[in-house]
Symmetry: C2
Subunit: 245 residues, 2 copies
């Protein structure tokens, strides 16, 4: 049945029979803090799931794209401008019983933000809320709705995506050391990587540009790199780097 047929059909019946679902955008925000991959959750004040932790999100307005809704909600919770965020649509969850009150279809996104750009205490229009960054490897048990499933899936997607894209760079400041980058990979994949092989691999991608600056610390200074934009002769097929769709 095409859309047009359906519209035709619709006009012949009582509108209430064609009740529409609510549509929300929920965002799994990832950032690296303390060498660990964290995600943002908000404590719910009202039932259902009062006292449980939920993903940031909200209704999609009639005149905005879904991605824009996600970006807007994200900015409200983290203070990070949408232009400074990597935002990718994850999956649409639409089980009729996922919200006990009414039919809510949610389009889930995952976002990667640089932790230094987060403004620590941002308040929504309902005032201060309890908001926390949780290690993805140590999430609370009381997560609202199907949000645990959404987080798990986004983590899986992020891990996969690390293997064939440079998406990890979205979590680092503009200049970083190779050790920073390796720590990031290790935090996400939750496993140790070999230093020489890791360097060989990321350098062979040709997407990193060495600067002439060094990060000084207690010990030997480390060369800082930057992300090189517009690299054409990658070892990867170009399609893999595309942002969906």
């Amino acid at each position: 049945m095409t859309l047009a047929d359906e519209m035709e059909f619709l006009r012949k019946y009582d509108a209430s029979q064609f009740e529409r679902p609510s549509v929300t955008a929920d965002i799994v925000v990832f950032t690296i803090m303390d060498n660990d991959l964290k995600t943002l959750l908000i404590k719910r004040g009202q039932p259902p799931f009062a006292g449980y932790w939920a993903l940031p999100g909200g209704f999609v307005k009639m005149d905005e794209t879904i991605e824009r809704a996600a970006g807007r909600e994200l900015e409200e919770e983290t203070g990070v401008e949408p232009s400074e965020v990597y935002l990718e649509q994850l999956y649409t969850f639409g089980d009729p019983k996922r919200d006990p009150r009414t039919r809510v279809i949610t389009v889930a996104y995952f976002a990667l933000v640089v932790s230094s750009k987060i403004q620590p205490f941002v308040t929504g229009r309902e005032g201060i809320k309890e908001v926390r960054w949780f290690s993805v490897h140590n999430l609370p048990d009381n997560i609202a709705f199907d949000h645990r499933k959404i987080i798990d899936y986004s983590l899986r997607r992020l891990k996969n995506k690390l293997e064939y894209t440079a998406v990890g760079l979205e979590l680092l400041p503009s200049a970083f050391t190779l050790t920073d980058l390796q720590n990031l990979y290790e935090a996400i994949l939750n496993e140790k990587l070999d230093k020489r092989n890791f360097r060989k691999k990321v350098l062979s991608m040709g997407i990193l540009q060495p600067t002439r600056r060094y990060k000084k610390g207690v010990h030997r200074p480390a060369l800082l790199y930057m992300f090189k934009r517009a690299k054409s002769t990658s070892t990867f097929k170009s399609v893999k780097f595309e942002r969906e769709p």
Copy 2:
């Protein structure tokens, strides 16, 4: 803003301000016919886009999952039971202007069906419609809405997926020759493959089981294979074979 906050907020205002979008499921159905990858389009009778070709699809009912809606629409158009179809969520398209009449968010799916299971003349509840299978490499110019973009994206996804899953087997009958399988890959990827390398690769996956039967034709008979279910020691990481999410 959390869902709960938003609900709270909602109660204070006129409901019309919180108009809800319509949600549809559209399906890109793929099948192999005449050694070519085809997709199903339906000619629209009414404006907008009267006379244009559109994807099968329709509204998601309040009490059904989105996937079920997609399966239902698919069955109406092809006569193939949902249990006999590979159905995977593709992406959700929500540009406010994608349908000129009203806000319609569509959750796009792609489906793989075995052509022999298709019932050639199925009619929807509006009567006989003009329905055609188009080669994906030769689509009409007049495609309605953003459906061309949806088809292109699903083709890209299918191509990618062929590389790391056994999803192509969903397009073949239960017993098939290696040449059948290779023709299928060539039709989808739109390129010729080396016979020896192809056989080496698919056999090394360990997902094919030789039968003792042969497909007879004009020339030398070809050994028939079947898909071997529940293969554990694959060369691929298990996550890759998972159906999302």
